[in-house]
């Protein structure tokens, strides 16, 4: 039996031969000029859409024009992504592992350490050259914010900004439940009390605080860590990681009271798209209280560019500081607490054009570019000069900048942190699905000991 007859074979061969020169025809473009690639976890019409639009509409044409004016032929391409944070992290790591990937890309500040340790990132000056140290922007970025891109005392990335965590509440639902407005709970008990009042409304989930492994790092940042700070405990302090401390037990107990007590929806915590679903439910007026970062205000329920836009956001959505367990029990004796993080932009050390890549990166962090990225919206950026100008018009972001940042806490910049965080996520998942607090806390301690090199590195 013959698989192919002669005409088919001849056609196939001819097509192959004709196609071969085509493979090479793309190459000469590189000789004529330089091509740089930007990637970020953003995509038009989807995740972080505004950022994708800014890169395409503002950064690329302006940077190309500026380079042309300087007599250089530079082309910039944007590779959009619209995936979960963990998937994006894996993709970046795999790209860098194979020494490929975009020239300039976004990373969560907390990943900088593990990427640097793997040799996927090198300090900015080593990649971008002497121009890095003399960049004008450094004077505008406060030292604490610069810390987002610093690992082992070296600068690896330019911080895009920082953020803070609050409790959002739905004023319409609060009114129906007979709760006060403005609302500022002073203890965990007051949150539970408000939840109990909201529970009387049909079809409403009173409280949504991220838990479980499906939510990934969102569980740590929006839930477990701010709550832990509210008990006066830090996940890492004085060279030791916290084990099954009283603080960890208190946090797990609060989760149990919310999710086993019918005040939260445990299913939402287990679904693969649970966080996105909770956003949509809040926007629909089906969740009363939601713990989130200011990202939620800027990018999720933002009336025009949000993924779950609320046209009446400014009238309907209230925000309050996250209380400590009881007044004064928070970290540093505080009454209220928060966690902060932020993304950085880094250079690919395997870039073929590292100098130009630095030019592009610093261009993206110029005052003009940062202002353009905001596109009229307010956000706590990394640049003080921009902040003083743009935050005045937005009461929510001014609230974060003035009230939250002074009481906030940052995660430890250690490469093992993501695994400890995962262990904490597992502990909350166990409690939310009905396991006893004691069992979850003990399992957490055992896991952490394994991760950080034995019980000598674990306190309590």
């Amino acid at each position: 039996m013959r698989l192919f007859n002669r005409p088919v074979l001849i056609t196939a061969l001819a097509a192959t031969v004709l196609a071969l020169p085509g493979c090479g025809s793309g190459a000469p473009a590189a000789d004529e000029g330089t091509t740089l690639v930007i990637t970020a976890n953003s995509i038009s019409g989807g995740k972080n859409s505004a950022s994708a639009e800014w890169i395409k509409q503002w950064v690329i044409p302006r940077f190309e024009a500026a380079q042309k004016a300087a007599g250089r032929d530079v082309r910039v391409l944007f590779q959009p992504n619209g995936v979960g944070d963990e998937q994006y992290k894996t993709k970046m790591a795999l790209d860098l592992k194979s020494k490929t990937g975009a020239d300039v890309f976004d990373l969560d500040g907390i990943w900088v350490g593990e990427f640097a340790q793997a040799g996927y990132l090198r300090p900015l000056t080593e990649v971008g050259g002497a121009d890095v140290e003399t960049w004008e922007g450094w004077q505008q970025i406060p030292q604490a914010v610069q810390g987002l891109g610093i690992f082992d005392g070296k600068k690896y990335g330019l911080p895009q900004g920082t953020d803070g965590r609050v409790l959002y509440y739905h004023k319409g639902l609060f009114k129906k439940a007979g709760l006060p407005e403005p609302w500022q709970p002073k203890s965990w008990q007051e949150i539970l009390d408000a939840g109990a009042a909201l529970k009387k409304l049909p079809g409403v989930t009173p409280i949504q605080i991220n838990a479980g492994t499906a939510m990934g790092e969102a569980t740590a940042m929006q839930g477990a860590l701010p709550l832990l700070a509210g008990t006066g405990t830090e996940i890492y302090s004085g060279g030791k990681w916290t084990g099954s401390s009283q603080g960890v037990r208190d946090v797990l107990e609060l989760y149990r009271r919310i999710y086993a007590g019918g005040l939260g929806d445990p299913k939402l915590q287990q679904e693969a798209k649970g966080r996105d679903k909770s956003f949509a439910e809040f926007a629909d007026g089906r969740i009363g209280i939601l713990a989130e970062g200011d990202y939620f205000w800027r990018s999720v329920i933002e009336p025009k560019v949000g993924v779950a836009p609320m046209a009446d956001r400014d009238q309907v959505v209230g925000y309050a500081k996250i209380p400590a367990m009881r007044p004064g029990t928070g970290i540093r004796g505080q009454d209220f607490v928060s966690m902060s993080g932020g993304a950085v932009r880094v250079l690919n050390p395997f870039s073929k054009h590292p100098r130009q890549a630095w030019e592009l990166l610093s261009f993206m962090h110029s005052a003009e570019a940062v202002k353009a990225e905001l596109a009229g919206a307010a956000r706590v950026t990394s640049r003080s000069d921009v902040n003083t100008e743009v935050l005045a018009g937005d009461p929510m972001l001014s609230f974060v900048s003035e009230e939250i940042l002074p009481i906030t806490t940052y995660r430890p910049g250690l490469a093992v942190y993501p695994q400890v965080s995962a262990a904490l996520q597992e502990a909350t998942a166990a409690v939310v699905s009905g396991r006893p607090v004691e069992e979850a806390a003990t399992a957490y301690r055992t896991k952490v000991e394994g991760l950080v090199g034995g019980s000598g590195n674990v306190a309590n």
Partner: protein, 294 residues
């Protein structure tokens, strides 16, 4: 065959097989060896162990075999293969083929069209279709059953992915059995019926002996495909709390989500060994069938 090879001469035979051997070497054998090597290290996707992986011997294997999560995965995979490939796809496929065997009217066309549709759709499309069907907020199934808010994917994750896989793969089995049943002479069945044989007896004594080879091929192939299938990840990502973390999903979660490439590679190799058992059984089956005259 032998005379052809002799006619070509050894040199030309090598020249003709070399491209295939190179491709197999580069894309199959080398990665397999690399995976075995990785499985002996503590290689991670990020952090210090990514820059400087250490050989840890059989640690990954002993850790996996002693880990409840791995054993849970193995057990879930057995359920997945038994439920969806053997009972579901093969069983239902045969039942459909048997029911439809004498029909020539529009009903047969409709059933074939429906069943085939599920087979030609890409797995990812089918997965999203089932997510929409099973969704607890406004999912079609909840609307039909009048069970608003029932979270099928969360409360019955294994059942959900088993039903999904049955829907997806029954067409292949049905087609195979339809063709096989053509080989059973209607006169034999007629004779059996006249002799008073029940349907079960007809199946056991007349049909099964004639289509035994087809059944074995079908069960082996669907089991192998199901064993290696990754699409359930799109439905449940192995959750909630690992309750649908079949082996393929477990490997993905360990290697790529948690970044433990070494541990993931070790389990991949264990899976490869299990697959070899399927493959050897399949080869054995093919050989046995070839030896049967006629």
């Amino acid at each position: 065959m032998d005379t052809d090879a002799a006619g070509l001469g050894r040199g030309r035979a090598v020249a003709f097989t070399l491209p295939a051997l190179v491709l197999i070497g580069v894309f199959l054998i080398f990665p397999a060896i690399w995976t075995i090597y990785l499985g002996l290290t503590d290689y991670r996707l990020t952090g210090l162990a990514a820059a400087d992986p250490r050989l840890v011997g059989a640690d990954n294997y002993t850790a996996a075999l002693g880990d409840g999560r791995f054993r849970n995965s193995l057990w879930l995979t057995v359920q997945f293969v038994l439920g969806s490939a053997i009972i579901g796809q093969a069983g239902l496929g045969f039942a459909l083929a048997w029911t439809m065997r004498d029909r020539r009217g529009p009903l047969r066309k409709v059933v074939e069209a429906l069943v085939l549709l599920s087979w030609i759709l890409p797995g990812s499309v089918v997965a999203f279709l089932w997510i929409a069907l099973l969704d607890r907020d406004g999912g079609t199934l909840n609307t039909l059953l009048g069970t608003p808010g029932a979270a099928w994917l969360l409360d019955h994750p294994m059942l959900s992915i088993i039903v999904f896989n049955v829907w997806r793969g029954t067409a292949f089995s049905m087609m195979l059995y339809s063709a096989a049943l053509e080989n059973v002479p209607p006169s034999h069945l007629e004779t059996a019926r006249l002799a008073g044989a029940s349907t079960f007896q007809q199946l056991r004594d007349v049909v099964l002996p004639r289509i035994k080879g087809h059944v074995l091929t079908n069960v082996l192939l669907t089991s192998l495909w199901t064993f290696n299938d990754f699409t359930p990840f799109l439905l449940t990502a192995g959750g909630p709390e690992g309750r649908s973390e079949i082996l393929s999903v477990y490997i993905y979660n360990v290697a790529l989500r948690d970044g433990q490439l070494g541990a993931g590679a070790a389990v991949s190799f264990l899976v490869l060994l299990i697959n070899l058992v399927f493959a050897l059984a399949y080869l054995r089956l093919l050989r046995d069938r070839r030896e049967v005259p006629g």
